[in-house]
Amino acid sequence: MRNILSMENISQINYSMQTAIFDNSWREPLSLLLGLGRAAGADFIEFFLQRGNYVSSLIENSKVTAITPSLSLGAGVRVFKGKEDCYVSTNDISFNGLKVILEKALNIHSLNLSHNRIISEINLEPLRDYAEIKQKSKWLSHCSSVSEMCEIILKLNSAQQNSTRSLQSATTNGFRDWQEVMVASSEGVFAKDIRLNQSISAQVFCEDGAHRTSSHSRLGDASNPDFFRKLNTQEIAEKLSETAGNMLHADFVSSGNYPVILANQFGGVIFHEACGHLLETTAVQRNSTPFADKKGKMIAHENLTAWDEGSWENGFGSIEMDDEGMPAQRTLLIENGVLRNFLCDRTGNLLTGHPRTGSGRRQNYTFAPASRMRNTYIAPGKFTQEEMFSSIDKGIYCKKLGGGSVGSTGDFNFGVEEAWLIENGKITKPVKGATLIGQAPEVMQRISMSGNDLEISAGFCGSVSGSIYVTVGQPHIKVDSITVGGR
């Protein structure tokens, strides 16, 4: 193996790496390219290679209306000079294609490949192959075929139609997203992984005269090729139709401030949006979080503890390693109201000094990694649902939340898909059109009760490094007061 080269030799080298698989054949070309970057004066260089095989099936009212396969192949290089970094991406993963993006990245830092330099290849670690350790190479062939996937999705679609009144349309969508990724850096990281995310979502739209409602449900999983085979389609359809049935003739909620109980499972999206994003060092770097200087301080009610799990078995947001090649970790975010850790990637570490947590994530090679959540949840507390409801005279039970978002000032909002009035400790009637709005730091102090019934739910999260798979979760929680937007 060559260890020292002069620049003149480089143009004569013709590497032929395996393009159909990321394996040890990539060691030599990547270590040479990393060496080139270092010789040019870059402080840190990292290549990210990715190949994707995705297929989705859409069923509408008992008909297969779209089968959409998608293949992707590409790479990106990130180059640091001091604390400044840049990212360049391409579809061309040939040796020359990677050299082109490296040169471009170096040029951005006003560096270049000088002809009379001696190039020392980077000594990469033995390939850390998570795919082999966990025997993931057969995942793709073990997954449901498109035909089997369609059969299962059709079954769910049919159950949706059979169990829903005043139905206008029933839509069911499933996808399988398989990705092979490789990371190599000038610090010697050389690692690969195979990722498998599968998900099914169902939606019903009902109309009765002037009354309209829609209801949506999603299940997702990482790392289980049998995901579709193990679905209980009848149960999914029944829950969905129950929500739609409850909400179709519901009155609009009156706006105002209420005590609120947020249900478990997808209720966790409120923590994800209102607090989780503000604990990513991406937000600290941008000075767009009110929690930037609050590590070790009380930022939430003493009853609140929250985690971000890197690698939960079957968690939709689980990863073995992050997109910087760091093994995923379990990160304690808040302990009894005290902020313990931020979610941190390499750039975050460099710019904020917080320790890396294996949280550098991205949608694909077209994005540079950023600190992102994985499986984030509020830990279970001691209260029963009965104790929580009986503490409220008049309030709102948010049984099913929709999506939401948080801005740089900490202002957040969430749509509520299924809401009920709580009167004298009891759930009474459904109400629609509710939106929860508030300020994250204020609401975190008002989560006064956490239930003992933690459940999790699959979701997507869109942010600076694209759309990624995440898990949200929580037990039932009580927020003492929150603004509910309505009519």
């Binding site: 159909a20 190949r51 008909k63 959409t68 293949l71 991406s89 579809n91 409602t213 740089s408």
Partner: protein, 449 residues
């Protein structure tokens, strides 16, 4: 850019012939983009990319269609895409048969000078401008703490469509944009944020400094604020806010959504009064002020101006070639190809049918809400129910005063809103999303924090 489209076309033709696929079409694009941000007067988040993708549709002998999208444009990748598209065609519908657009061979009428492509700006050029603009904002006042979201970017791209019948269209374009969203704070008040997005034909004509100035003014206007009392108000939507809202509910004009029964309209809705009789709405992709105008859709159909609402009456939907055939309408050039062809508007143009000489000034009115921008549309819009409940940045207008609102949401029903439009301002404003005047709507529900 690296991809040679003519070469790609002949390579695909060769593979199709080897694989005995006689009917196919391809839509794709390649894009080169440079962008830069600034943080505390230093370069930050510098990115560059050269990427391409294509969507391949093939027809099997039963006329079923299969599709594959790929960014692997090597010969090996294209072959794999053909195999996948062919196998997925077995699931293609036997009832809803897609065909090439009747107009995919039709020549496109190009706008003069639109396709002039300059050399793309270097990252160094962008860095210089973005740092100067960030500095301008931070130096404006010590109330301006940071500009967490800022970017200057330029891209050049080529879109292409070709098919096995010989249709072949290529369109080159160039675009540059910048945005600045500063955070600012008065002593003992909450941090506030607002901002500005500007878009231009290329970097040399992009007014980065002007964008920063507008961001300063907009943010400054929100530093002093007050809570708003819950209740029903007459609401004035800024052109940007109204266009955001109408785009969020565009299923009412979307022919595919109508066929799928996922629309606020039905096919019988054409000819019905759905809005204030003064209200007109067009989709105008070739509007001379539209920087991101396109000449053809993803089926190769030339784009054109379509009147959607005229005098409050729903006149037309927007179509793909399939929906136009099923609903016996004219083609409109709004298709996105895929296993299922979808439809979306390009560049909406809202206007009044009256040329009013006495335009109202909202500052002279009392007890009004002015909505400058809406946010969280993905979460606060239920497009199937027709309802919305959205946070906004805006002002309370009373007794000649304009007071920033601390935090609030506006809620309502979209179809009711179209009918409750009480005034359409005479002055149309060009925005990156379309053209619109300010729109006044009576009796919308406002909830303050």
């Amino acid at each position: 850019m690296s991809l040679h489209i003519e070469h790609l076309k002949s390579e695909i033709q060769k593979i199709a012939s080897e694989k005995s696929i006689y009917k196919y079409d391809v839509y794709g694009s390649q894009k080169e983009e440079n962008s830069a941000s600034a943080k505390n007067k230093e370069p930050f988040s510098l990115t560059s990319s050269i990427r391409a993708f294509l969507i391949l549709r093939v027809w099997n002998i039963k006329h079923q269609v299969g599709v594959t999208r790929t960014s692997n444009l090597t010969n090996e990748g294209l072959r794999e895409a053909f195999d996948l598209a062919k196998s997925s065609s077995e699931f293609g519908s036997l009832e809803n048969i897609y065909e090439f657009s009747n107009e995919c061979q039709k020549e496109i009428q190009k706008i003069e000078n639109k396709n002039e492509i300059n050399k793309i700006a270097t990252i160094q050029d962008l860095v210089k401008e973005v740092i100067a603009a960030e500095e301008k904002i931070l130096n404006y006042s010590d109330k301006f703490k940071s500009v967490p979201y800022n970017k200057v970017s330029e891209s050049i791209s080529s879109r292409f469509y070709f098919n096995s019948d010989g249709a072949f269209k290529v369109e080159n374009s160039q675009m540059s944009f910048c945005y600045f969203y500063p955070l600012a704070q008065e002593i003992e008040k909450k941090t506030r944020q607002s901002g500005q997005l500007e878009i231009a034909k290329n970097f040399s004509s992009l007014d980065v400094s002007g964008c920063a100035e507008k961001a300063i003014v907009k943010t400054k206007n929100h530093l002093d604020y007050a809570p708003i009392k819950n209740g029903k108000y007459t609401v004035i939507f800024s052109p940007e806010a109204f266009l955001d809202l109408i785009n969020a509910f565009s299923n009412f004009m979307n022919a595919q959504n109508i066929l799928d029964k996922k629309s606020l309209s039905h096919k019988e809705s054409i000819g019905k009064q759905i809005a204030n009789p003064e209200f007109c709405l067009l989709d105008s992709p070739l509007h001379p002020k539209n920087i991101s105008s396109i000449y053809f859709d993803e089926e190769g159909t030339p784009t054109r101006e379509v009147t959607i609402i005229e005098n409050g009456i729903l006149k037309s939907f927007i179509h793909s070639s399939y929906t136009a055939k099923v609903l016996e309408s004219q083609l409109t050039g709004h298709a996105h190809i895929g296993s299922k062809v979808t439809v979306s508007p390009h560049y909406l143009h809202v206007k009044s049918n009256k040329k009013s000489s006495n335009t109202k000034n909202y500052l002279e009115e009392n007890n009004l809400i002015y909505i400058e921008s809406l946010s969280a549309l993905h979460a606060g819009v239920n497009e199937l129910q027709g309802s919305f409940s959205l946070p906004f940045d805006g002002f309370y207008i009373n007794e000649n005063k304009k007071i920033s609102i601390e935090a609030a949401t506006v809620a309502g029903d979209f179809l009711a809103l179209l009918n409750d439009i009480s005034y359409i301002h005479g002055e149309e404003v060009v925005t990156p999303n379309g053209v619109s005047p300010e729109i006044w709507v009576k009796e919308l529900s406002i909830t303050g924090l």
